[in-house]
Amino acid sequence: MSFEGVDYFDIDGMLSDEERQVRDMVRRWVDENVMPIIDEHYVEHEFPSQLVPEMAELGFYGANLPQEYGCAGLNNVAYGLIMQELERGDSGIRSFASVQGALVMYPIYEFGSEEQRREWLPKLASGEAIGCFGLTEPDFGSNPGGMRTRARKDGDEWVINGTKMWITNGSMADVAVIWAKTGEGDDPDDIRGFIVETDREGYTGKDQEGKLSLLASDTSEIALQDVRVPEENLLPESDGLVSALKCLTQARYGIAWGACGAAMACYREAVDYAGERTQFDDEPIAGTQLQQTRLAEMLTDITRAQLLAYRLGRLKDEGTMRPQQVSMAKRNNVDMACECAREARRLLGANGILVEYQSMRHMANLESVYTYEGTHDIHGLILGQDITGIPAY
């Protein structure tokens, strides 16, 4: 059965034919290719890497980047809809596509030289190369500006030393975009981005064990020990921490949409279950006031989040979107999705803890999404600073 979606305020009516067509295609692809296998991969703690080539063929990676580099050249609303549909399947699948597109292809496109773009973007778009993004370190998460990783110039090479933590795709990547300090002191303005092929000597990726969230995703620790890259591997236009943060803005934008997808999956599951499950006099639990208001809250919250994402997309396409608006949408929408998933899980009773239902998988996944790409708290602080002018980090 194909996924019905959730559209209480006729957002479809504001989409172009083409945007709808993109959404419908990805939705169907997720129905046919993700839904049948995701439970098993989740339980096995395994990213479904067999899906990588097909997602590439369909054009999911960096889909909002220009066609001249082998990308689909979609607008940002269509791009957001792809993220929504992928995360309706699983946050791990969306994370993979987000990292590949927004955190690896985007920085190469935005801060790379023309040669770097021509070399890497077509390979990343076609899935021939998988990428990862190394910013976070064991001791620096919300405050990446404090990072210890350093790149030291040695002739016409850079020598990189440091440890990166919680890196999505870190073990399976062919190429890493690594952020490192290039100056003598500790100034975040000296942070620059490097393209590091993962087969270079001194690079090791190690799977993060013991996760209870985002299980169908590769999360790894990366160690860089005297890793030498030529001068051409520096992203020439990267300039300080702010460049890394610009990448995060792109990824967070996709997450604002993705969260809607996960919440839609949970809501649909809850509605279906409530209609079928009977208790007390053979009455469906959907007929109780308690479950009805629970569903009403979910639907209202999803609708509000969808409108935020939609408007954000139009602003991005008009070129007027501000990073603080992305913070608001990421913060609100992921929080909303966490709540929806939890409420759906509860509505499902004991069945809600089983992997054959989706809500608990989404609920556990969304805890990662709540934390990565700027925690819920940190986005609150970004908004707080925007409102008051006073940074409170």
């Binding site: 059965m1 194909s2 019905e4 034919d17 083409e18 709808r20 067509q21 993109v22 295609m25 169907r28 692809w29 063929e57 369909l58 054009g59 999911f60 889909a63 066609q67 689909a72 050249g73 979609l74 269509a78």
Partner: protein, 249 residues
């Protein structure tokens, strides 16, 4: 090789269809429309034939309302080269549709005319053979395998309890069945490219229908099934019920 594929705009099989108050049509509000699934096999086959031969033109043709542009764009996104929309509300009457399509096709040069074996909305299965008849072309329906060589085609048809091989001289009409191929997803580049492909719209006046729709009715609410037991132990009870209650044994 020129291939024309006819595609119809139909309600998505997942939508709950409701009959209008007057019993003469369906309530279209909130209905999601798709390319008729059997027509997707036809579009896929046409594209595969063109790809294998490395030449040819695939044209998608639809008789439908203005909104059917969406379904034609879908066919273009899958890989058709151009499209023609004959703008009219398609009637239930197969012969009217067949006549209109045939009138358009008469002036066109093609080697193969493909249809899905049936549209999932009215399930009539009339249009492909009727068009063939009007145009005086050979026709194979419910085809699960198709080989096209110069001047002829060999089709494997699904028939009751087996298969039948037929040879047709081109140009010919073929209607396609599930199993013929796996329709591809229209990829993102295809969707972007489809916007720029030629799509011609023509308003048409339909001839008077040869059949008249009297009324439509929704199926009666089925009563829930009953499980009488499990495994071999259930057999005696099942046999008793089939004999005494259903009276089929």
């Amino acid at each position: 090789m020129n291939i024309i594929v006819c595609v119809k705009r139909v309600p998505d099989s997942g939508t709950r269809v409701r009959v209008t108050g007057d019993g003469r049509g369906i309530d279209t509000s909130g209905v999601k429309y798709v390319v008729n699934p059997y027509d997707e096999f036809a579009v896929e086959e046409a594209i595969q034939i063109r790809e294998e031969r490395g030449e040819g033109q695939v044209t998608a043709l639809c008789l439908g309302p203005d909104e059917a542009e969406e379904q034609l764009r879908n066919a273009l996104a899958m890989g058709a080269d151009d499209a023609v929309l004959l703008e009219a509300e398609p009637p239930m009457d197969g012969l009217t549709v067949a006549r209109e399509l045939a009138a358009e096709l008469e002036d066109r040069d093609f080697d193969l005319l493909l249809f899905g074996k049936q549209a999932i909305d009215d399930d009539n299965m009339q249009v492909p053979p009727m068009v063939a008849e009007i145009l005086g072309l050979p026709c194979a329906t419910v085809v699960v395998d198709l080989d096209v060589e110069d001047g002829r085609a060999v089709a494997r048809r699904e028939v009751e309890g087996g298969h039948e091989m037929v040879e047709l001289e081109l140009p010919a009409v073929v209607s396609t069945q599930k199993g013929l191929n796996e329709p591809r997803y229209a990829d993102l580049k295809g969707i972007m490219a489809a916007k720029k492909k030629p799509l011609e719209k023509k308003e048409v006046e339909l001839a008077e229908a040869s059949t008249e729709l009297l009324s439509m009715r929704e199926p009666e609410e089925g009563t829930d099934g009953e499980i009488v037991g499990e495994g071999a132990e259930a057999a005696p009870e099942l046999a008793r019920r089939l004999h005494e209650e259903a009276k089929v044994l």
